[in-house]
């Protein structure tokens, strides 16, 4: 009965995410899976709340979706609890989303907090950013996927082009944070450090990489500083943040690949894809290419459309 009625009614899908200082919003009106209209907006918080309310008044079949970018999430190449236990992940504290025979998980605490925070927007669906990569993965083997956004960076490695073998997420540090925190990789560190010896070994290796890292960082900063000369004063702060994020990203990518080779697979990566949704500098792409010694195929993702596509799939489940 519900399906029959649904066949004749319009659905309004609203996707949004927070970027820099505003919410990027897409409103899509669909009927029986066909897009009737699609618009994009940029709102502040109050405007977004009012917009969502007006959409609800206009159409009760309004679905609001967004992505959650908390660091405590990841992919596992199985849905079984035994696999999670083998990876040392406490099942009591996570929510698992099984996608056929691999899964995405998220910390319950972070999810609950995010849900509370999103209540004001009447959010229906919360998607993992890992799905942005999963929805756009290629069939190529031994592929490294990177998804770069303003607030986080994700890495997923597919060996067989189907199931994720390795994943990691990194949230860029906010400018207000004075103390530099250690990179958190609790979420999807499929191979966590097992004992002190491993830890010491890791530290030694990281130290040995310091020189190289410093050099590359210096180079990037210098290049960025040169670029900054040409920027308008009002954009300087924004660009500094971008550069800082890019530097952190490169470090994160290096560490993740190192972790992958050491703990997950002996197969060399053959392909690299870099997804982004806003803009990305060629220098940043080149820097990554230099670090991973692989050509990168960069691809702009329409995050809002992907979120709405996922929402539509959810509605039709």
């Amino acid at each position: 009965m519900f399906r029959l009625i649904q066949h004749f009614i319009k659905e309004t899908l609203i996707s949004f995410y927070f970027e820099k200082d505003s919410y990027k919003v897409q409103k899509r009106v669909v009927k029986h899976g066909n897009i009737l209209s699609q618009e994009e907006f940029s709102f502040n918080e109050d405007e977004l709340k009012n917009f969502i309310n007006s959409c609800y008044i206009e159409n009760t079949q309004t679905y609001v979706s967004t992505i959650i970018d908390t660091f405590n999430q990841g992919c596992v190449d199985s849905c079984t609890h035994s696999k999670y236990k083998a990876l040392g992940i406490n099942l009591d504290n996570i929510k698992i989303l099984c996608l056929k025979d691999y899964s995405i998980f998220i910390g319950l605490y972070e999810l609950n907090n995010f849900q509370k925070e999103m209540k004001k927007f009447k959010v229906d669906y919360i998607f993992s950013p890992y799905l942005m990569i999963d929805m756009n993965k290629k069939q190529t083997p031994n592929s490294l996927y990177m998804f770069y956004s303003d607030s986080f960076m994700i890495i997923v490695i597919y060996e067989d082009g189907y199931k994720p073998k390795y994943s990691n997420i990194y949230q860029f540090k906010l400018e207000e944070e004075n103390e530099i925190e250690e990179e958190d990789s609790i979420d999807d560190e499929i191979g966590e450090i097992d004992d002190i010896d491993d830890l010491v070994e890791d530290i030694d290796e990281i130290e040995s990489l310091d020189d190289t890292l410093e050099d590359s960082l210096d180079d990037s900063i210098e290049e960025s500083l040169e670029d900054m000369d040409d920027l308008e004063s009002e954009n300087i702060q924004e660009d500094i943040t971008d550069v800082k994020n890019e530097i952190e990203s490169i470090e994160f990518i290096k560490n993740s690949i190192k972790d992958y080779y050491e703990n997950y697979s002996d197969n060399f990566l053959e392909n690299a894809y870099l997804f982004y949704h806003d803009k990305i500098s060629n220098k940043f792409v080149e820097s990554i290419e230099n670090e991973i010694i692989l050509d990168i195929t960069d691809e702009k993702l329409d995050i809002l459309s992907i979120i709405n596509d996922l929402a539509l799939k959810e509605i039709n489940v």
């Binding site: 989303l97 669906y125 996922l310």
Partner: protein, 168 residues
């Protein structure tokens, strides 16, 4: 399933629409109830009409019966009247007949039939009978026949047969 959360429950209708729908539903329900009431009433009326028709048929039958009875009673009444009249006439006739009997003659028996009269009696003489009783009898009846039998004391026992024939 791709989302960590389930969608909130969605209503197909907005609040205003819901109110309208409730109102329309209520009105429709009332109309349906009223229509049902009328329908049931009509059914009752139909059954009443059937009953009444049956009653009418029964009553017509009764009327027919009563009419027949009335006719019968009327006939009975007529018959009764006729009989009464006849009786009256007979009574008068007898009275007249008795008035006809002269004093010297004594009747011993009278037998009256529809068209005939039989008189039995005693007369001192045949002349008394022939002068006093025979003329009135002859004036009434078509045929009058008398037989005399002499008694020991000289008187006569007589037997008079009088027949009245209908005129053709």
């Amino acid at each position: 399933m791709y989302s960590f959360t389930r969608a909130n429950k969605k209503s197909f209708f907005a609040e205003d629409t819901k109110l309208w729908l409730i109102f329309i539903s209520a009105v429709s329900a009332l109309m349906i109830l009223f229509a049902s009431f009328l329908f049931i009433e009509a059914l009752f009326y139909k059954s009443d009409i059937k009953e009444l028709k049956t009653q009418i048929i029964d009553n017509n039958k009764k009327i027919e019966d009563f009419t027949k009875k009335i006719d019968f009673i009327k006939q009975e009444k007529q018959l009764y009247t006729k009989i009464s009249v006849n009786n009256e006439l007979l009574k008068d006739g007898v009275k007249n007949l008795l008035d006809l009997i002269p004093d010297p003659i004594t009747l011993t028996n009278i037998k009256i039939e529809k068209k005939s009269l039989y008189i039995y009696g005693v007369t001192p003489t045949k002349e008394v009978y022939n002068v006093l009783l025979l003329p009135p009898l002859k004036s009434i009846f078509t045929t009058t026949t008398t037989h005399f039998y002499q008694m020991e004391n000289g008187w006569y026992r007589f037997e008079s047969v009088n027949i009245l024939k209908e005129e053709q």
